[in-house]
Symmetry: C2
Subunit: 892 residues, 2 copies
């Protein structure tokens, strides 16, 4: 069938207007055709940053060119070369005015390309011509570099053989570096190289510049399309069948007379992001010499061997333009030839987390990028660096053991081998480093008192790790290099060194290192650019960010991190204080309900006080209080002596304590009599807690004049009948408090969704719950059938074998746990269209999980206060990426 005439005409038109497959560099702006590098260079060339003339070859053309199938293309290549010759006024292979070219591969961003071939055209015939321009030594060096960079990839010559020849000549000359070889030594080295080429290939080194170009292209294309390269690209998630473009440019020599050399420069400090020219350069160098030989390299500014102020000024001017082109602080690769600066390339400069924030905020404030762009540029996890002191990278480290980086930040202090010692040190005004084989709940107070925690055993989800992250203490766990000898009171390193209680030690929770002695620190920086960025995040995010805060102290920290409320107040932590724990244990040991009620009555004022304080601190923000969750045996002492002490203190026989402890013992406490199961079978406990909450709400409202609407959360629900049952008793307590106080108040009752069944039954449950808050820690445990406390026994193996792609307690398992959450969200909304949906648990501070919550349309995430800034930024990014409307409009 013939195509209709208009379609045929369109095809012809397309063919005629098809973009050329070889384009002048400044026209090669389309990365999908020419590759990311060519496109970037094109933009830099258009802005006058990159001035060396050049052209780009499209990925679609390279294959055809190499195979020789397209004579028209080959002719176009020749024409492009001729244009460069015309612009530069030099010609390839012209003995009097020789032109040198470079050939670089241009693939997708981040793709590993073939190495560049430099100095194409530096043939034997042009040595004199080059020498006339840059001197004989430099001329020979250019030719040596050509052979060295060209022969292995293009001719298949053994790179090591060339390397051997070079080293032999260095040895003969008695020098250490190529730069110290003189012209005659270089001449001899070139002869060595040529001999190796002849011997290995059976042919002389190709001296035709055009052949050099063709063979360089062919070699790069061959390497690119080899099976190993394809596999590598596939493994990185890139398209294995992607094409490879090229950039051909006139060489800036960097060798020869006057100030000549090569290096890199940037206009900002990579540590702080503050403005100021920095970088490194090497005289008489080309390409990446400066970056590869950092020891020998000199600073571009401010220091011995710095570039002339005029050269530096030229660099600064080019960098400013590059920053404008890239929309980001740039690192520029440059060459200086006889005092004239030429930029080879410029790309976003490397930077540490603090610099990244400063640069993004600076650029947005300067109007170079939008605030949205600034927010999207920062990986939220990088903010951790701002939130904790970190070790000065310049400071020397005496590392005595390596373990897992369990909680970020760094801290120095005297060793404390027990929680008591850490508390005693704190009482004396010194914050110690708590060093333990492993920690247990008994150590919590000591962990709070310590500046940092170090354990010899345990994994990323061990007790020490979890608690340390929660309280924001730097922590390193599983340091198997260290042996803790409690009998001797000694910490013994693998090298035999012994540290004793009180000796100074440093933990680097970011690197997972234990360091002897104190190390210089960089203090956290929560103001300036960090604060500005988070203010912007708050303007852009839709989701609320709450904190998990159990005590008034936690709540104050949370306020400092500008959260929108408390998403999880675990009331049980309030019971561990001295005095309180006694009443709690009396309650547990009581034989009947009246005795339990009497003990609970003593706990009531304490709970109420805590809640009043919480409500005051949070000033009307939402506060979600979870009713008692852990099994009662967690409140009893474990050891025989502690039980005896308790019996004496309570005035009961020790057998009674032991019997009760035995009765309460459980095979699987995680799945036992806890949460609402306690609340239903011992109703007086939740009644006391709800009374404390309501009385505190009345008191705080009267004190501040602002109403308090407490949110009461029921833990471990698995059926709506549990909710209905407890809701009735909560409502009854509220009615009683209203009657007794004569005060009106509102409250909400919600369900902590942490069993798979609660997720599946969310429609029913939402009918009796104003909010559903996903306790993703437990939900993950039950969905996987995996105890977080025990997972350490095989988590390492699982991650290493790739059975788990990530630790599901660190990053939300979107496929399993996430699906249950989506099911629950959908059903919950069916049961109650305006149900509030939130996530509490460690995942609330994980950006991937926050993004998931945004997509699921949750109302808030709640996490450790120390993670709140991360969650705020992650929430803003999630809102921006989802195209949803923010909480407030963008003020930018």
């Amino acid at each position: 069938m013939n195509a209709p005439p208009d379609i045929a005409a369109a095809e012809i038109a397309t063919a005629q207007t098809a973009p050329p497959e070889i384009a002048a560099l400044q026209d090669a702006t389309d990365p999908s055709r020419f590759g990311a590098k060519a496109a970037r260079l094109a933009r830099l060339a258009r802005a006058g940053v990159v001035s060396a003339p050049g052209f780009a070859i499209a990925a679609s053309a390279a294959g055809k060119l190499v195979s020789g199938e397209a004579p028209a293309l080959s002719r176009a290549l020749s024409a492009a070369i001729r244009r460069l010759e015309a612009v530069r006024g030099r010609r390839l292979g012209d003995p009097s005015a020789p032109l040198l070219l470079s050939v670089r591969a241009s693939a997708g961003e981040g793709a590993t390309g073939a190495a560049a071939v430099l100095n194409i055209g530096a043939t034997a015939a042009v040595e004199a011509g080059l020498a006339a321009r840059v001197g004989l030594r430099a001329a020979r060096d250019l030719r040596r570099r050509l052979i060295q960079s060209f022969a292995p990839p293009a001719l298949g010559v053994d790179a090591e053989a060339l390397e051997h020849a070079l080293h032999a000549r260095l040895k003969a000359a008695g020098v250490a570096e190529e730069a110290a070889l003189d012209a005659s030594a270089l001449g001899a080295l070139i002869e060595d190289y040529l001999a190796i080429v002849r011997e290995e290939t059976g042919a002389p080194f190709p001296e035709d510049p055009r052949e050099q170009i063709d063979r360089a292209l062919a070699a790069a294309a061959r390497a690119w399309s080899g099976p190993r390269a394809k596999l590598l690209r596939a493994a990185r998630g890139d398209d294995p069948d992607a094409g490879l473009g090229f950039v051909v440019q006139c060489m800036a020599l960097g060798l020869g007379r006057g100030v000549s050399g090569a290096g890199f420069a940037q206009a900002r400090c990579e540590r702080t992001g503050a403005p100021g020219l920095s970088g490194r350069w090497l005289p008489q160098a080309q390409g990446e010499d400066a970056a590869m030989l950092l020891r020998a390299a000199r600073p571009v500014a401010d220091g011995p061997g710095a570039l002339d102020p005029t050269v530096a000024e030229a660099l600064s001017a080019l960098l400013a333009r590059a920053e404008a082109v890239l929309g980001d602080a740039a690192r520029m690769e440059f060459t200086v030839e006889d005092g004239r600066v030429e930029a080879l390339d410029a790309f976003p400069m490397p930077r540490n987390p603090r610099a990244a924030v400063r640069i993004a905020v600076d650029l947005a404030e300067a109007g170079r990028i939008s605030r949205t762009d600034a927010l999207l540029r920062i990986d939220p996890m990088l903010l951790i660096d701002h939130l904790h002191p970190s070790i000065d990278p310049a400071a020397p480290r005496d590392v005595i053991g390596r373990g897992l980086p369990a909680s970020p930040g760094a801290a120095s202090g005297p060793i404390a081998f027990s929680a008591e010692a850490a508390e005693a040190a704190a009482a004396r005004g010194t914050r110690a480093i708590l060093v333990r084989v492993e920690t247990s709940p008994d150590d919590i107070r000591g962990m709070h008192a310590a500046a940092g925690v170090l354990t010899a055993r345990g994994g990323m989800t061990s007790h020490a790790a979890v608690v340390a992250r929660g309280i924001g203490a730097p922590c390193v766990v599983g340091v198997s290099d260290l042996r803790i000898d409690l009998a001797e009171g000694a910490l013994v390193a693998r090298d035999g060194r012994v540290l004793r209680e009180g000796d100074l030690v440093t933990v680097d929770g970011a690197a997972g290192e234990a360091i002897a002695g104190a190390v210089a620190m960089i203090e956290p920086e929560l103001t300036g650019a960090f604060a500005t960025l988070l203010d912007w995040a708050d303007e852009h995010r839709r989701m609320r960010v709450r904190a998990n805060a159990d005590t008034p102290e936690d709540a104050r920290v949370a306020r400092g991190f500008k959260v929108d409320g408390i998403g999880l107040c675990r009331t049980e932590h309030m019971f561990f204080d001295k005095g309180r724990i006694t009443a709690m244990r009396e309650m547990i040991l009581a034989d009947d309900e009246p005795s339990r009620r009497a003990a609970l009555a003593r706990l009531l004022p304490w709970q109420r006080e805590d809640f009043v304080e919480l409500f005051r601190i949070m000033q009307g923000m939402p506060v979600t209080i979870r009713l008692l969750d852990p099994p009662l045996h967690e409140f009893l002492p474990r050891g025989a002596r502690e039980m005896a002490d308790l019996a004496v203190a309570m005035g009961v026989p020790v057998t009674r304590v032991e019997r009760r402890a035995a009765e309460l013992e459980e095979f699987n406490p995680m799945l036992g009599k806890r949460g609402c199961r306690l609340g239903i079978t011992l109703p007086e406990i939740y009644e006391m807690q709800c009374r404390a909450i309501f009385e505190a709400a009345v008191e705080a409202a009267q004190a501040t004049g602002a109403p308090v609407v407490p949110e009461i959360m029921v833990p471990l629900v698995s059926t709506n009948r549990e909710m209905l049952h407890l809701r009735a008793s909560i409502d009854a307590v509220a009615d009683a408090v209203r009657r007794e106080t004569g005060a009106a108040f509102d409250y909400e009752v919600g369900c902590m969704v942490e069993t798979p069944r609660a997720a599946l039954r969310a429609e029913d449950i939402a009918r009796s719950a104003e909010f559903l808050s996903f306790g993703t820690n437990d939900l993950t445990q039950m969905t996987y059938g995996l105890s977080r406390d025990d997972a350490g026994k095989f988590m390492g193996d699982y991650l290493q074998l790739g059975v788990y792609l990530s630790d599901p307690f660190q990053t939300l398992d979107v496929e399993g746990v996430g699906e249950l959450m989506l099911i629950a969200a959908e059903r919950g909304r069916k049961g109650r269209p305006d149900v509030t949906l939130g996530l509490c648990g460690e995942h609330g501070g994980d950006p991937v999980s926050v993004r998931f919550c945004e997509v699921a349309g949750f109302d808030y995430v709640s996490c450790s206060p120390y993670r709140a800034p991360i969650a705020r930024l992650a929430a803003a990014q999630a809102t921006i990426l989802s195209g949803r409307r923010a909480l407030t409009t963008d003020a930018a």
Copy 2:
């Protein structure tokens, strides 16, 4: 708008042909209009079983009749009464030939109706006429009964006042029963009654028979529509607004001359179902006197006071007809008046489980009902009674404690206070009753050796209960009336009685009773009707029924119960045997892989032998073998002494045993390093097991000549990557065994779906699993976040409070766990259209769960061998009810 003429005409036609709201009894066959009782009586009347003429009033009419709104209805009622008068040749209120009527309510089957009013028409005016027929005493007794049954409901007279008057007259006459009152005493009693009526109502007793009928109807309708009755109907799941129909019938007197009386009779034994007339009757009685005064009642046949053979013959003839009408063995209520039998009603006779099976099979074999009907008639749970000895209901019981009926059946034997004592008794040829405070895994061998188990503590899901159900041993748990004093070696009852080791005791696992001494037993009956019914079930069911069998012995038991294969062979139980446990412990204590492999190599031949035996016994039926599941610490001894013994036996320091035990300890073993987590991190274990399976398959196939296709099941999967990982290593072992033996064999690899995540990811998983078998025990635990071992601490409270409607470990939680199973089934089929779906776990023997599996289209259920008959019948019922096709066609 006017209705189109044809519609109006249709309406008129409908009105004209509307069924009469008052119908002759034999025409009232529609239970939805006249109620179940009327409909049954109508069918019995048509068949000539019930001969007393009568009529029925539809539920729709009763209300209108009572309110007097429908004069036409009232006229129809009068006409119906006139028809009865004409048939009987007597008239209501006619002094010479008085007619007596009864009024009974007729509601839905099983609904509690108002009591019947008898002898309507026995007014003062007809006393002489009645006396002429039945004598003066009987005539007065009829009138007394009328007043006594009519005055309280219809006139609101206090029934107790009438009762007092009766007792006063009995006392005055110096007799114990009404039957002993003579005519004059009855006359005085009637005067007493009339005085009470006058005093309480302010009006004389209504002597107009028609008024009596109207007021009886009104009273019943009033009671029926009262709020309490409605609530009661709603609570029973009946329609609270359902109407109430009535049956009005001529009275059969049962009093008077000749053989007169009333009673009930049935043509079969209610204990065995064997044919033979039985029943009870009372002379000079009416209605339910015989049922209510059983002590005074006489047998209808074979015994002192039995009815004349001619009367008995008449009864048998009527019963045969009633059985034909009801399609079931009947109990008949009858009256005899002067030797003439009249049936009042007949309904399916009460029967115990064994009789139920016998009757259903007899009826089907006689062609009275279809085999399908026979199958649907038997509650599968009733079969339990056939599977175990039970206590003779006639035997006296000396109950010393009551607990929970944890495992059905009954057993007597000498008390053994330890597993060792039970084993020793078994060695001597005596099966003991193992009496423990609670049992633990250490007691399992003792439980196997014992005839029954009795524990003072624990619930329906305690270790003792679960194990006992699994091995089919009668068991009573939680007998808190009993105190076990191990120091004294005594079992102390609440009444102070002391039983010592060796004393005889009996457990009744069906009633939950502990009984002193031995009691007469009825042996199980697995042949005859039981076997026939199960053969029919096998013809009708679609689903396969497999057994959970861990050992060759279990497999033999399972074959006896005619299962279709083994659905779950837990290989770990094979490791607890002497010798094996030592090798197992060596493997656990080994420090490196080679030592582990050496220990496993010693276990290999044992495992292989067991598997060969299993395969031989199962003769080519499918056998699903689950790879090692429990955490390794379960194989180590617990106590200090046992650890020391182990250390000595292994020749290692005890500290090494202790250290390893401490390392393996877990917070939540249920959610720890077990199942495939073990298999992946210690691959040599599963490799050994798979090798044993494959080598056994080859050996068994060579020995029997029939191919063996083992099904290997991977436990505790939560992600498909676990399946992929293990599948690769299983396939590698299979290849190795094929190479080594030169034998070809097939096998299947499947996933035990017991984590919620495995259910959610079933599509992926099914791509690498030929079958999915739901481990509903663990799946329930994880879906609820509920440890079965710990649930006992609150399960009782939860069931009592109605928070759980049933124990989810007994009856599948269809709403939560069931939904996960449906999700998994759907997704599993998407991943592999022909994936085999099964259920293993205790739910496999629960009829409700079996029905769920049928609806979900599962291929099989697998349960304890002792539950297999229940599952076979339940599966047949499920297939019939779902309308699916059976495995084989119905041979009936």
